[in-house]
């Protein structure tokens, strides 16, 4: 398997992520899209490590991307839940005010 295949998977993931982020009106669905984009980036790092250089710095990068994705999901969903407690909605168009 050549690098091309891995990069093509990564492109598809990135494309789906961007499309989900823009097409959805539901905040949780948008967070799903962000997870896809972060995965595309992490996969790219691992693929470049395999094909371009032997040292594992790329894997460390992917590891930290996964960690940041988890932290992002935790804080993002906490904000969604708080927003739901205030407005009883998770429609992105309802999030128009910075304070309530």
């Amino acid at each position: 398997m050549s690098l091309f295949w891995y990069l093509s998977v990564s492109f598809v993931l990135f494309f789906c992520g961007i499309a989900v982020m823009i097409a959805r009106k539901n905040i949780i669905a948008i967070l799903l899209g962000i997870e896809l984009i972060l995965n595309a980036a992490a996969l790219n790092f691992a693929a470049y490590t395999r094909f371009l250089n032997q040292n594992l710095d790329g894997h460390i990068m992917s590891l930290f991307i996964i960690i940041i994705a988890a932290a992002e999901a935790a804080v993002g969903l906490a904000i969604v839940i708080r927003f739901y407690q205030i407005r009883e909605s998770i429609h992105i168009d309802d999030a128009t005010q910075l304070q309530h």
């Binding site: 590891l63 996964i66 960690i67 988890a70 932290a71 999901a73 935790a74 969903l77 906490a78 839940i81 407690q85």
Partner: protein, 145 residues
Amino acid sequence: MSADNLNVYMPVVMLMFIAVATVVLALLVGKLIRPHNPFDNKEQAYECGEDPIGIAWSNFNVRFYVVSLIFIIFDVEGALLFPVAAVFKSFIEIGEGSVILATFALFILVLAVGIVYCWRKGDLDWVKGFTSEELQNLSKAKDAQ
């Protein structure tokens, strides 16, 4: 060659496949011999004999979320600690034990601060205890009745 290396995943893939195939096969074989006689009352969700009211997909306690939130942070911590723990012994053998212990301990202690914070703020309590004021108010309300 990488192809040889990947052979170690062969049983993993086979087990995953067989586990799913067993379920599908058993259900397909069962379909040939088991009775099939559905009617409305049978297909209702069980609610102690009453007709179900509303749907079950409704709001739940935020406690579930807070618990899973603390979980995911510690899960990620575990994922980061595993490779460090795996090299712990070899670092001791080359005489760098105190260095890696300091790294290890700092990482754990920083996260221990997190759990202490959540403990103090009551996020670890499943049922928030009542304060003495609230208890008094409750008993007053009871007396008024």
